[in-house]
């Protein structure tokens, strides 16, 4: 009986600890923006996607860190994250990181949660060179305040097997959403893939012609789920690991799937008969922003990196490395690694046809009305993949 008492005591202590834990992280409300960049603190800590901050250790040709470290006196420490949610968790969970390269499906969460701070654009030298279409984008600008500096963007393209489609590239996402006979005479059932992330519900909504696929009311949402449920019968495997998808295109006879330019580039580099299009319906996509933590321990180095991050050299190199489109259009010209057509290959001309990832919120991204929030998307998409 005594052991039971001990367990109870332990639980009470834990309850107390769990309930008390929330009180410690109070937000800083003194919102005076810095007016100048001071002495460097010697380092800057960045949470980034894999491949976003290269110091030449993966490939010596791709290095946009070493020179910065020498010039600024700030050593760059990178913590890579695999998903937007991991990034959000890393940033909200500690005060040790200065910057994060957040996609639109995490940036607004960070802003709403008070995790990232407003940026003083007067201290960002190259701001005028940033693509004007990105300068006030809603995924980093809230109520006229800028919470970050755009880094790069890209579209979720429709990748397809050229041996299956021959001379007639697909023009609609219907090849992955609706059962049909493909140009090689066989059904698409079992030969298409879909993205293994709840944000893919937006792809279904986009295909159905919803204007704002990240703000779905119940009716639109249910229709999208119905479409995805019948897509389940067509999909062999849902992908979330780029390299598994590359393998599936090579060894599994996949005919078409939503994909990233990254995989398409690698597959084409390996001689696989794969090409990609942005279909008539448009596409979903990601636009990433470098954002600064509210309690950033190294604000001066952080500002120095923000300045560095939109210089044309790093922008072009990043686009070449990752298969993305630079946030600074002038970086498209004269970059050796990217080549003269690099930006077009990576989809520069697609901007207006891309619906960039945002986190669905109950208030319809602030537009009013009632929408289905993101956590519902997660549960329901899991159920769809499970065949429900």
């Amino acid at each position: 009986m005594r052991s039971r008492l001990i367990v109870w005591l332990a639980m009470m202590v834990l309850i107390a600890a769990a309930c008390g834990g929330g009180a410690t992280d109070g937000g800083e409300e003194g919102t005076a923006l810095p007016t100048e960049i001071g002495e460097s603190e010697g380092q800057v800590n960045i949470v980034a996607w894999a491949g976003y901050i290269e110091d030449g250790s993966t490939d010596p040709a791709y290095d946009w860190v070493t020179q910065f470290e020498a010039d600024s006196g700030c050593q760059v420490n990178v913590k890579t994250a695999g998903t937007s949610d991991e990034m959000t968790a890393l940033m909200t969970g500690s005060n040790e990181y200065d910057l994060v390269t957040a996609s639109g499906d995490s940036s607004n969460r960070l802003i709403a949660g008070g995790t990232v701070q407003e940026i003083n654009l007067d201290l960002i030298d190259g701001w005028d060179t940033v693509d004007p279409r990105l300068q006030d984008a809603p995924w980093h600008t809230v109520e006229g305040k800028h919470y970050g500096v755009p880094y790069d963007w890209g579209a979720n393209v429709l990748a397809y097997n050229t041996e299956v489609f021959g001379d007639t590239p697909p023009t609609s996402w219907s090849v992955v959403f609706e059962e049909q006979i493909l140009p090689d005479g066989e059904s698409n059932a079992g030969r298409v893939q879909a993205y293994d992330g709840p944000i893919y519900i937006a792809d279904a909504a986009l295909f159905m012609g919803v204007e704002q696929p990240y703000a779905l009311n119940q009716e639109q949402y249910d229709a999208a789920l119905d479409l995805l449920r019948q897509q389940r019968d067509l999909v062999g495997r849902y992908w979330h690991d780029a390299f598994i998808q590359i393998d599936d295109f090579t060894n599994e006879g996949v005919a078409a799937s939503s994909s990233w330019p990254f995989q398409v580039n690698i597959l084409q580099g390996g001689g696989a008969p794969v090409a990609s299009v942005v279909p008539d319906e448009g596409a979903t996509g990601w636009a990433d922003t470098t954002m600064m933590h509210t309690n950033a321990p190294n604000p001066n180095c952080a500002y120095k990196w923000l300045n560095h991050s939109i210089t044309s050299g790093i922008q072009g190199d990043l686009a070449a490395w990752f298969g993305s489109v630079p946030a600074v259009p002038s970086a498209c010209d004269g970059n050796e690694l990217l080549g003269p057509d690099g930006c077009n290959i990576n989809g520069l001309q697609n901007f207006d046809r891309v619906k960039f990832w945002q986190t669905p919120t109950e208030d319809c991204l602030g537009a009013g009305g009632t929408c289905v929030p993101y956590y519902k998307w997660v549960t329901d998409y899991l159920a769809v993949i499970g065949g429900r």
Binding site: A10, C19, D85, T88, A89, R109, E362, D363, V378, T379
Partner: protein
């Protein structure tokens, strides 16, 4: 000499003190394991349990720390029940198949193999464990792929139709072996099989040869001897092995993402609730499903007398 006794004197004094205080001795011996089990292990379980009574704030996506039963209510939606059914079904199938495959092999290792051959065979069983689990799972993905070696060999042998027939079957079939429950089952079985073989070998080694001889002397056919002597005596090993294969399959979340048609398993569901949705309460509540299943399983195993000889 005197110096030596002098220097060992404090140790002796401690030893003597410990000898006299039995309870203190016991406490010191158990302190570390108890801190580990109650503090670290029990503590994390308790914090999981507490988390599961919180809920997710729909608007900000943050965790609302007011106690509620909502999370538990949402756990038993049809979709989640399907996840549980799928996982438990797979774990049971893998366990049964592992017993069927492991028993003859273990019987040979324990009864017939010479000491040298036995060493080699145990090594062969353990060898796969020397390489990374991930490497083996990804290798299986290639082996089972539509353009993989299994398909190639069967097609060359003119048996492509047989494979297609199997893949056309409902439930276990799919577009290719690596995208079907059947392939997933094969990989699970391969990965966890060593954990079934070794305990059974140990159990069978303890069956005295004289029992088998006595059984034969009394006129029992080999089948009867197996049913009445070998099988009952191997049950402790089977039980121990099945706990491994069952619980490991129950908790695995890598294989279902690499092999199979992406249908979520319990581990995967927990992972996406926690890692993707940031819905810690739901993930915590889900974590109690495998715990509950294992508790039931262990109780049943004990009822069947599986632990009496361990």
């Amino acid at each position: 000499m005197t110096a030596a006794t002098q220097s060992s004197r404090p140790i002796r004094r401690i030893a003597a003190a410990l000898y006299r205080r039995r309870r203190l001795r016991l406490a010191l011996l158990l302190a570390l394991p108890v801190v580990w089990l109650v503090g670290v292990y029990g503590g994390s379980l308790a914090s999981l349990l507490i988390q599961s009574f919180f809920s997710l704030d729909n608007f900000a996506g943050t965790i609302d720390r007011t106690p509620t039963l909502d999370t538990w209510r949402e756990l038993f939606t049809p979709a989640n029940r399907a996840v549980m059914g799928r996982t438990i079904g797979m774990a049971s199938a893998v366990t049964v198949a592992a017993v069927v495959v492991a028993l003859p092999l273990a019987y040979y290792i324990a009864r017939y193999a010479s000491t040298r051959v036995k060493g080699w065979m145990v090594l062969a069983v353990l060898l796969p464990l020397w390489s990374s689990y991930l490497v083996r799972v990804y290798a299986w993905k290639l082996i089972l792929a539509a353009e993989g070696i299994v398909n190639w060999v069967l097609t060359r042998l003119g048996l492509g139709g047989v494979l297609e027939g199997i893949l056309d079957l409902p439930v276990i079939g799919g577009p290719s072996l690596s995208v079907s429950y059947l392939g997933q089952f094969v990989v699970f079985l391969y990965i966890w099989l060593p954990f079934m073989i070794l305990p059974i070998v140990t159990a069978l080694e303890r069956v005295p040869r004289s029992y088998l001889e006595a059984s034969a002397d009394l006129g029992a056919k080999p089948g009867t001897t197996f049913r009445k002597i070998v099988w009952p005596l191997s049950i402790p090993g089977v039980a121990a092995g099945s706990i491994f294969t069952f619980s490991l399959t129950l908790g695995d979340y890598i294989i279902p993402t690499v092999i199979g048609d992406s249908s979520p398993f319990i581990g995967l569901a927990i992972y996406s609730q926690q890692g993707v949705a940031g819905n810690l309460p739901a993930a915590a509540a889900f974590s109690f499903v495998p715990i509950a299943v294992m508790a039931i399983y262990l109780t049943l195993a004990r009822r069947l007398g599986a632990f009496e000889t361990i």
